[in-house]
Symmetry: C2
Subunit: 214 residues, 2 copies
Amino acid sequence: MPTRVLIADDQAMVRAGFRLILEGEPDIEVVGEAADGDQAVRLARELRPDVTLMDIRMPGVDGLRATELLAGPDVPDPLHVVMVTTFGLDENVHAALRAGACGFLLKDAGPNLLVEAVHAAAHGEALVSPAITTRLLAHFTRATSRPAPETPLTPRELDVVKAVARGATNDEICRSLVVSLPTVKTHIGAVKRKLGARNRTEIAIWAWESGLVH
Amino acid sequence: MPTRVLIADDQAMVRAGFRLILEGEPDIEVVGEAADGDQAVRLARELRPDVTLMDIRMPGVDGLRATELLAGPDVPDPLHVVMVTTFGLDENVHAALRAGACGFLLKDAGPNLLVEAVHAAAHGEALVSPAITTRLLAHFTRATSRPAPETPLTPRELDVVKAVARGATNDEICRSLVVSLPTVKTHIGAVKRKLGARNRTEIAIWAWESGLVH
DNA sequence: CGCGGTCTCGTACCCAGGTACGAACTCCGG
DNA sequence: CCGGAGTTCGTACCTGGGTACGAGACCGCG
């Protein structure tokens, strides 16, 4: 059985283009079109397509809200929504992922990627435009690797930093590491010097940025 | 001018398959093959291909180390490396991205994705297999979306939270928001109640987890 | 208009957090 | 064997953070 696709975009030319591309595939069937978010939600609920291609910017209810209604965290059986947009601004990407989208394509992505994204989404998997993936990965690696304090932290200091980054108080730390309170303060003082932090909150921030904790 | 590609995989059949797929494209040229990591590094340095397809598991120097040597953070002019593997274990993905790879494909990805990934990598952009992207996004959204304080924060409280998440002291906050110190304390008190935070560090952590700040 | 929520400010108090010393002990490498 | 680094602990002091009130001003809404 073919993959059933719903196209939601306010521009008729875009819808026609998508339909043309997708109907060239034997195992894809376009089951409907919507011109605004409201229509998209109603049609999607009625047709239950395997994949919904959703433009972000649409009159009335926009694609973001529509996606939330169809694939958001509170929806019982969420649909697979692939966001489509002309520009890949970061806020859009964040918001789209937050809303439950399982893909994010730029309109200049080319027919191949569109088809592949539909196939991936049909299996509940995600495909994202290369340009956006690049930024996503940058985000990911930036958030996952920032080592190098000029003078390295000692093992014990790392223990303290991790605890601070979890929001622990000095009292909790000294009990969890089985040392005295002055010891904890000593370590924290050393860490602050080494990292150039002015208070424990900045230590926690550093730990998060450097991927020491998740 | 065509995109010049180097293929590094210990299995000759896989190399042949890739070559067949890629040479079907008019604007892609396979300039070399390597059967292990050592060979891959030497060939890549000599040929300077636009894109290197690199298997993770290879005899001797593995794909991860080879990628580090070709695209790692300390390399002056890094090459574009796309990792290829049969299974997409998370540790591999992390390590590959850390090593400087700009793409990550599963071998069962299909010809289309392979071609698209090479095109993307040639432009310095990244394409990742849908199955892996799914997990990557899960990772991303898990780390980026934890909203829903039972009672929502007011705009002014959000201002304070952002400042706290930057590591600001109460004194700095009250000067940057042009209010008095007691006002800042009031807001922070309210935020702590709403978020169930025990101190300002936990507020900062919440802000980071919820994607309020980067 | 009256009500509720938000933002603002004040005063007062307490304690956790941070600073500044000094001083043991262990372990390791030159 | 000796020096340095790391870890531990102590005492004393000060500041910033957090709590607990109360209260006035503003604004939107029924």
